[in-house]
């Protein structure tokens, strides 16, 4: 047997990884240099992607080498960048000024809980940047220097930023607990923008960004490839249900443009969620279209810079306009919804060429989306179920005992808490909640968001995944939970690893996978296999009455 490498979970012994020391090391944090150990950092962005996106300082460089090949005047660039951002973002300026270091946020970050590295306490993560702010932008810091927490900007500081701003998943959990709402994610975003000015990106983020810019989606799926993929899904759907679903692509004049994260096209179990959407739309005979140009709902620009968010996001409204749709429907994704909800309209709106979304099935007007004109699919589906428009047979999901992972952004940037629960409870009869400090607005990140979900970062992913994994194992042991539902494409990819490690035996699913499996379709054949092409376990003799589908509603 080959010895496991740091990018696999086998490399990490559970006893060792969970032997966590919360005691900070001796000596001040400013004197503790970064240790780039394998498994805890991410490969640099390749020059070709930076070039394609017109980003500064494209070159090949190596994280573990001393020379990061920064520009001659790198320091000036960073300080100028800071000054510019301080005057453009009140959030940044305020958060630099008002933290009292009360420590309320300290043990709220999953990376600190799972790793114990004090620089992963949100407050200290912010201090990495704040110390430079004090030194170069405040009078007291300039005069008194280190004793008031100021320090000079050096290349080592840049390395520290790179390490720790890519150990923050921008999940905003810390912000919930801070008495001033200081959002370390916002500070991380600024930190990453500053690193970007020096051409310091991670490839796991910047390659998807470049792909998305060119092909319309992070994975670089070209138009014909997308069509193939969807057709392949349709075959699987037909195999499972006997129903052949329609696949409208780039259809002008459709009523609805549907946008989902491209993760749903490629990797299991996201693909099953994608099939779920297809089954649903087909059953409703919805007048919608896929787009090959706007084929990405997610937006890794969010992990790059505000400008990049806008550059990638622009195609959503542009495509809606080109196709002449009335409104936009969005799939199950986390960070995508932070962008759609908090940034899109401001950046690329107003969407005055669209109409206030109205469900063609129930007539419900989505007044909460009256300006942005974009509805989340769980809002759409919850409304369908409430109005009795779906024939559901939740018994088909009886072998599933499900819990819900609230994805960070839907929870803390929208507050989409009840909609997914309502759906889940209607499509699966065994729904259990994880402990209350780990769900809803207090939900824990999967540990792989914001561009950290790559295998070379495995140690940090497992550490960051500990609080979530632990909560999953708790309901696994207590209620026999065997599936974790998540409405986020990154979750579906990364939580699979987290569960394999911390709660083996629990599978990850999307909400619409369970919806579609429970849906009784027009003209379906006897449903013996599910969308995963697996045998549906027969109901045990205990749950007797042989439910015709209709009477379960």
């Amino acid at each position: 047997m080959a010895t496991p490498t740091p990018d696999t979970i086998e490399y990490y012994k559970k006893e060792k990884l969970s032997d966590i020391d919360y005691e900070p090391p001796a000596g001040g944090w400013m004197d503790t240099p970064v240790n780039f150990r394998p498994g805890s950092w991410i490969y640099p962005g390749k020059a070709k992607h930076l070039q394609y996106l017109d980003l500064p300082n494209p070159r090949e460089w190596v994280v573990t080498e001393k020379d990061w090949k920064l520009q001659e005047n790198w320091k000036e660039i960073v300080l100028k960048g800071m000054s510019e951002r301080l005057s453009k973002y009140r959030s940044f300026k305020l958060f630099m000024d008002i933290c009292v270091r009360c420590g309320a946020c300290a043990d709220k970050c999953h990376f600190f809980i799972g790793g114990g590295d004090p620089k992963n306490m949100p407050v200290l993560r912010a201090e990495l940047l704040r110390s430079i702010y004090r030194n170069d932008f405040t009078a007291i810091g300039r005069v008194l220097g280190k004793i008031v927490g100021a320090r000079e900007l050096t290349e080592d500081v840049i390395k520290e930023w790179f390490y720790y701003f890519f150990q923050c998943t921008e999940c905003r959990r810390c912000s919930v607990f801070c008495p001033y709402g200081i959002d370390t994610a916002e500070i991380t975003m600024m930190g990453r923008e500053l690193l970007g000015l020096l051409g310091l990106y991670v490839n796991w983020v910047i390659e998807p960004v470049a792909n998305c810019f060119r092909t319309g989606n992070h994975l670089g799926i070209q138009p014909h490839g997308l069509k193939d993929t969807l057709e392949f899904f349709a075959d699987d759907i037909e195999n499972a249900t006997g129903v052949k679903v329609k696949i409208p692509i780039n259809k002008k004049g459709a009523e609805i443009l549907f946008v989902t994260p491209s993760g749903d096209f490629l990797a299991d179990p996201g693909t099953f969620t994608c099939m779920g959407y297809m089954v649903l739309f087909n059953e409703l005979d919805l007048d919608f279209t896929w787009s090959t140009y706007a084929s990405e709902g997610g937006n890794f620009g969010l992990f790059t810079s505000h400008e990049m968010i806008k550059r990638l996001n622009a195609k959503i409204y542009a495509e809606a306009k080109r196709l002449g749709v009335k409104w936009i429907l969005g799939g199950e994704c986390g960070h995508m919804w932070r962008v759609m909800h908090q940034y899109m309209d401001t950046m690329n709106g107003p969407a005055d060429f669209l109409q206030v979304p109205k469900s063609p099935i129930t007539g419900t007007v989505f007044d909460n989306a009256r300006s942005t004109k974009m509805v989340h699919i769980v809002e759409f589906t919850a409304d369908l179920i409430k109005h009795g428009k779906l024939k559901l047979d939740p018994k088909r999901n009886d072998h599933i005992r499900v819990t819900l992972h609230d994805s960070c952004n839907p929870a803390r940037a929208l507050g989409m808490l009840e909609e997914p629960r309502y759906i889940l409870k209607n499509v699966c009869r065994n729904f259990y909640e994880m402990p209350e400090n780990t769900i809803r607005e207090q939900t824990f990140c999967c540990g792989g968001g914001a561009g950290l979900g790559t295998d070379e970062n495995m140690e940090m992913r497992l550490r960051g995944g500990l609080p979530r994994g632990n909560a999953v194992r708790y309901v696994q042991e207590k209620y026999g939970v065997n599936q974790l539902a998540a409405m986020c494409a990154i979750d579906r990819a990364t939580l699979t690893t987290v569960c394999n490690y911390w709660a083996p035996g629990v599978l990850v699913t999307g909400i619409h996978e369970l919806v579609a499996n429970a849906m009784v379709l027009n003209g379906e054949k006897e449903r013996t296999i599910n969308l995963r092409q697996e045998e549906i376990p027969r109901a045990e003799s205990g749950s007797a009455e042989k439910g015709g589908a209709a009477d379960v509603r």
Binding site: K88, S91, D97, G149, T215, Y293, A314, T346, G415, E441
Partner: protein, 330 residues
């Protein structure tokens, strides 16, 4: 080290105020000039800082939502923790400012073997913070009786309510004790929690020692030396009416107390104490989560380089045609 320097600094400051008057006789300096300067610096500094913050726009609406959103009619929204109206925002802010709502959520995270992560409610910081801030406010208002004649009713009222538990003469104020107890707690947790000690700077210990210094010296004046209150009031009224006088019977220790207070006022605008004003401006708390309902305007929104559909089609036209996907330009 980070704690020692501020401790010494506060002691020195007290001695400067005390000996500066008692020994050097600089009554005008410590009894009038510095207090005036302190007030001016405080107000100008405060305004300056707030204006500087306000000068940076809020380009995006980024509330942190802590409850159910307003969406479908039949799902009950949480209008306070996830406000979608101005009124909701006002309630949210009032709860934050008056009752430290977010701090009340505080939990303690522990790792048990297994590994098992357990969370328990932890309201001690909240209690300590509430006790300190509220008693500080009450004491501040109580001090108004020195500066006003006649004394406004609410000051008298507070003064009586606070002294409710009368134990001998002079009246003992509950807040004197609460303030010192709360500050001691805040200081001790900084010193004894390893993580807090790790993040604490001189800037964190200094205000605590300063406030403790103010509290202790005030306590001393009131309960131990029993300084001549009438004389202090004469001095205070003199300051207010711009005709400073320095009655003989005011204890020189008083000038130590006063000098610490002046230091606090001068230090305030340049320090983390500005959280008092900043908390009102925090964009994750003071904005409504009505993002999809009402468009937020970014004053510096600028055009960016995008990859247009036309460019995209140029890149992939042949492949699209071959796959039977409609194109704009044949």
């Amino acid at each position: 080290m980070n704690a020692l320097i501020p401790l010494i600094a506060v002691i020195v400051l007290f001695l400067v105020g005390w000996l500066g008057t008692d020994q050097a006789g600089l009554y005008v300096l410590f009894g009038a000039a510095i207090p005036y300067i302190a007030i001016v610096v405080f107000f100008c500094g405060l305004v300056y800082r707030v204006v500087r913050w306000a000068a940076s726009p809020v380009p995006f609406r980024i509330p942190t939502t802590c409850g159910q959103q307003k969406s479908l009619d039949w799902i009950r929204p949480n209008p306070v923790d996830n406000p979608y109206t101005l009124f909701g925002v006002l309630v949210r802010m009032a709860l934050e400012i008056l009752f430290f709502r977010s701090l009340l959520r505080n939990t303690k995270t522990e790792l048990k073997s297994g590994p098992r992560v357990v969370y328990s409610s932890n309201i001690w910081l909240w209690l300590g913070a509430m006790a300190f801030h509220w008693s500080f406010l009450v004491i501040l208002i109580r001090h108004m009786r020195f500066f006003t004649e006649p004394v406004p009713f609410f000051v008298t009222f507070l003064h009586q309510a606070d002294g409710f538990f009368q134990v001998g003469v002079p009246i003992f104020y509950a807040t004197s004790f609460i303030l010192l107890a709360a500050l001691s707690y805040l200081l001790l947790r900084r010193l004894f929690s390893p993580q807090l000690r790790y993040i604490s700077l001189v800037n964190d210990y200094f205000p605590l020692f300063l406030l403790i210094g103010i509290g202790l010296s005030g306590f001393w004046l009131r309960y131990i030396t029993k300084t001549d209150i009438v004389a202090v009031k004469e001095l205070a009224l003199g300051l207010v009416s711009f005709t400073p006088t320095f009655p003989e019977s005011v204890s020189p220790l008083f000038y130590g107390h006063l000098f610490l207070v002046c230091t606090l006022f001068i230090y305030f605008p340049f320090s983390k104490l500005m959280h008092m004003a900043g908390v009102f401006l925090s964009p994750t708390r003071n904005l409504a989560n009505n993002n999809r309902m009402v468009r937020h305007i970014n004053p510096w929104n600028y055009p960016v380089k995008v990859h247009t559909y036309e460019e995209y089609e140029d890149d992939f036209r042949e492949k699209m045609k071959k796959a039977g996907i409609v194109v704009e330009k044949e």
